[in-house]
Symmetry: C2
Subunit: 405 residues, 2 copies
Amino acid sequence: MAVIVQKYGGSSVADTDKIMNVARRVVQTVQEGHRVVVVVSAQGKTTDSLIEQARAISANPPKRELDMLLATGEQMSIALLAMAIDSLGQPVISLTGAQGGIMTDTQHTKARIREVDGGRICSELAQGQVVIVAGFQGVTNANDITTLGRGGSDTTAVAVAAALQAEVCEIYTDVEGVYSADPRLVSDAVKLDEVDYDEMLELASLGAMVLQPRAVEVASVYGVPIHVRSSFSAERGTMIKEVNVVEREVSVTGVAYDENCAKITLAGIPTDISALHNVFSSLAAEGVNVDMIVQAGTSTPTADLTFTVAREELDTALAVITRIQNDQSWKVVCDEDVAKVSIVGAGMMTNPGVAARMFEALSEEKIPVYVVSTSEIKVSCLVPRSRYQDAVRACHRKFELDLGN
Amino acid sequence: MAVIVQKYGGSSVADTDKIMNVARRVVQTVQEGHRVVVVVSAQGKTTDSLIEQARAISANPPKRELDMLLATGEQMSIALLAMAIDSLGQPVISLTGAQGGIMTDTQHTKARIREVDGGRICSELAQGQVVIVAGFQGVTNANDITTLGRGGSDTTAVAVAAALQAEVCEIYTDVEGVYSADPRLVSDAVKLDEVDYDEMLELASLGAMVLQPRAVEVASVYGVPIHVRSSFSAERGTMIKEVNVVEREVSVTGVAYDENCAKITLAGIPTDISALHNVFSSLAAEGVNVDMIVQAGTSTPTADLTFTVAREELDTALAVITRIQNDQSWKVVCDEDVAKVSIVGAGMMTNPGVAARMFEALSEEKIPVYVVSTSEIKVSCLVPRSRYQDAVRACHRKFELDLGN
């Protein structure tokens, strides 16, 4: 009998009514002839309120203890959901991350799943039970509770689906699926029927918040099909899976944007290798993630180096730069009023001129482009933040994404 | 180095200030040269609010899932207390019941501890850490989370102390120790310096809420000295331990009372064995605990059988009685306006006339006595609820308990 893994986020279990709604959905899936494993997050704002409690006691609580505290959030929601499913007459059992065999490394608050030991889940399924597994948490070999950090529950769901060789991993969310652009910005954005893993990874990384990049990565490695769909409707959503690129006619699948950017330019930095290495290894040592990196004028002894960081990391980044700058003669310029707009499509690499069409769309709207960065399946442009919505709409129109894929 | 186990109840960790207070107390004990294991309950009203959440979803939630939910209460408080102790610079680690090796049977919501596997606790202590263990919870051999029911945290503390052969198990509470009577009723009640295990067991069972009978039982079996003391003062409280009875001069240690009683009389019940058996086995089958049992007039073919139950179980008990009564000719009389007053003392059995003095005290106050029940170390009288406070004071005075032991 086929196993389906369903993942419900915190907003889907925020109150008693919503929990009952999820319970009915799970029972219906069982009645349709499936074995079901449910992965669930902490209710609504539980995690935030637990973090607040911790901060009231200590500005810098030990990460192991923070994990001990945060893990209670999902433990509550699995128990409550189990009670709801039981009240509908369906045999059910809830398992913490540790009981569910979610084995992780020891990096508290941002652990990575090393292995899913599916023994207990399988034996409970075999007894006809719906199995509810706590998302976002796991356990180390030394039996210490860990949490997986941002996007952890999606990753739990996909990893469990991979371990059980599930037919599909359904990710329930408050939107109908993955769209060609944010429907709040682009009124004729269309829901995509299917998206390739790599495209989804780019879309997710570039700001489409519907799914976490980590989860897409795991799904891609293990070939787990992900179905992103709404918890409030029975409509089919978007399938994320291996798509045969050769048959693809369109080149661009979607437009994404990310407002959470800040641009830093080091003007007049020496072009020798050690300068670049020095800058980025110092930033990495402080945990600053650098996104786009562009350097112009490498044939001269000095050049202008530009890169972007998340806005909340700008202060840290500037502190690092100031420290390593010493009395060197660079000039540091930063700009917070920027946003990144990207077009993504697995077909892009076989279609020349895609970047050119994007620039055309932006120039027709008189939107300046500060920084460009490309990969095999995306082109990203940094634009003034005040114009990013126009940029998204212009690209969506230019690539005729309203016609569907 | 000597190990001390300290147990703090829910009111001792109810908010951030109180948690910091407990943390300072723990660190001070370490600085006095002890290894410390801390057992802690859920904060304040957490458990009640979790039960409310469960009831909102299901009138009759599966007990395993209720345990899964309730166990989050202590998991939160151990994490928060660990953060507080860490913030004072003291190495510390928190352990859930499962991690702490609290192995129980499989009776969810009222599991009994089968064994404490102290391996992890010992190795953390050996590394110089304060170890915080979640009270009230444990784990079955199948790795399912259980809770211990009423008085569970006290029992955890004593069981851990027994496993570690701790020097003492300190139970912190909001009173200064065990008193000769409830100080709210008897203004000259005195704090007892030491109390024998058996006496404490009777006092605890008879309504002195300072300590749970289960915990006293375990302490008695393993010879763990318990120190009941206030979390708000440094004063010595009451030591509960094996007291050499031969040397005891006084016969009565304390007076206890229990308002939570209801009396049921079956008038004209047949005196043959099967009737008695039928009544009490039927009550037991419904989980009704029966306390005092008295039967008068066994030489006649019928007699009056009187017993007491907890008030919240009166309705269930009456339903059982009605069911087994059928058309038999007993008359059922019940009375909720009663209370039980008891005198307790290990020296009682070597001192004749103790019961007589109690009756004298009550008769001087013109307090009627409905039912009497005695054991080797206590005499209990059921009196009108409106008079129980007078009865407690009369006994306290009669046995001169204000002079101390």
